[in-house]
Symmetry: C2
């Protein structure tokens, strides 16, 4: 019987594990990918204390810090969580574990565009991670779909590889953080196509063009060699919902300032909760509160 | 006219400044002591990402990070804040500044014991910071008053200098984090005197003993060379209270999950707010939320 099982090994899960270990709780951290989605990020310059590092480096630091303490780790996917009278049973495909409390920090997965050709050309010019898949497009023409801060950062990164980067955004104006907006403005390789949707991705063996829902420079077809889709994330809260944990309209888990949910002994933190401004640092802060709440609950 | 003035330059204020700078807000950070109370801490091993560093080192890292951005800094004490129709006026003894928003991150100051002799022997054997004043008590007998995690950490630090360290605590059992409780238990130099108050601090030129309110090993007088008082902190929320900002019973500022107070344009974060489990990391997380809320407000 564990005192707490942390579901998800992203920055929030790792932060929770470190504190849970410090508290002397019998702790198991289960996650598919150590570090979570931040490892797909090239440059992190907004985790206070580190001026600039890669997502992978930050994840490694948080992991090393957590492993300073007596924390068990399993790199597996949690497929179900059941409520028992005196706690929870957390199940992976291979094993199951009993625990008094759960800290749920599953985060998100990338959202698909849903355009024709997206599946067919997946990994053949259709990608979801500039850092992972950008480097092969040296001197090529690249499109990025989306208008968020993440999309702008991905576009900036892709200018290191491609000779031209189109940002294609369905709304009127992209909305990065001001500092990234300025960088995009100053970058000659980037061209922004606003108020436009991609309705189809075309090619032969690899992507050759995208079809837009309105003309751009006289044509609805835009020639390019790759499309990176960065239109947001889907929160991974299905297992929590099934347990009766309260979600908001965006399917995010509703927590209070102590990272408590409506379900006793079940705490949550990070990208899967209802925080308005989600950052690595706010997720880690919530995770630390969650670890404390779990400690208080067990004690 | 600033977009935001951050009052307090501890870890929360520095975290807020970095994000505020990133957001492109015209930002002024005012504080008496760069780094705030954490610079009095010898070992910080619970700021996720840094396994172990001194409080001063952490403060320096946060400060350097903030100064990567366009942030003005004044090392002054804020003596008053006034509400104006379109914002606030923040006053120091020398200058005053106008701002659209305030991020209030003043933190706390140390609590005095109130015992006879405390003032008289201040800095002559009565101290409030083991890291600052401990090293002169090489091979001496030291008392520490208090039972919190901070008190335990101070006691552990003092064992590096003194030959004997008494922890004198008014309640039944000291209540450090488990990991520090274990370290205290294992340390032969530490002796704990529970259920006991210090009613007087005595000496000639320097501290020579304390008077207890009950006998310990047959005497109410305990010979020692120094007393470190670590009985908690007073939240510095007077200026906020005067403005009509809502406080709880502990005089902490009540914030929501976006670091908003009841007063429009006035945000708060860190040790001066009503967070249950206050840590450097949770304060910085709140500060980042406060910077975002200020940015949204100004925009």
């Amino acid at each position: 019987m564990y005192d707490t099982i942390i579901v998800g090994a992203g920055v929030a899960g790792l932060g929770a594990a470190m504190y849970s270990g410090r508290f002397g709780l019998k702790t198991l951290l289960i996650g598919e990918t150590m570090g979570g989605t931040i490892i797909l990020t090239d440059t992190v310059e907004n985790y206070p204390g580190f001026k600039k590092l890669t997502g992978m480096e930050l994840a490694d630091k948080l992991k090393e810090h957590a492993l300073e303490y007596d924390v068990e780790v399993k790199e597996q996917k949690v497929v179900d969580i059941e409520k028992k009278e005196d706690g929870f049973v957390v199940k992976t495909a291979k094993e199951e574990f009993e625990t008094k409390t759960v800290i749920y920090a599953t985060g998100t997965k990338v959202k698909k565009l849903g355009a024709k050709g997206e599946e067919e050309f997946s990994n053949k010019g259709v990608h979801y991670c500039a850092l992972c898949d950008g480097p092969v497009y040296q001197d090529k023409v690249i499109g990025i779909i989306g208008g968020s801060d993440s999309a702008a950062k991905e576009a900036l990164l892709l200018t290191q590889y491609g000779k031209k980067v189109y940002i294609i955004y369905r709304k009127e104006k992209i909305r990065p953080e001001p500092i990234n907006a300025e960088r995009v403005d100053k970058n000659d390789k980037i061209e922004i196509i606003n108020n436009t949707n991609v309705v189809e991705i075309k090619g032969d063996k690899f992507v050759e063009s995208v079809v837009l829902d309105k003309e751009y420079k006289g044509s609805k077809e835009l020639k390019l060699d790759a499309v990176f889709i960065e239109i947001g994330h889907i929160v991974l809260t299905d297992l929590a919902k099934k347990l009766g944990v309260e979600l908001n309209k965006k399917n995010e888990i509703i927590i209070d300032r102590e990272a408590k949910t409506n379900l006793s002994g079940f705490f949550a933190a990070g990208d899967c909760v209802d925080t308005v401004f989600k950052q690595a640092i706010t997720g880690v802060g919530e995770a630390v509160s969650a670890a404390y709440s779990a400690y208080q609950y067990v004690k």
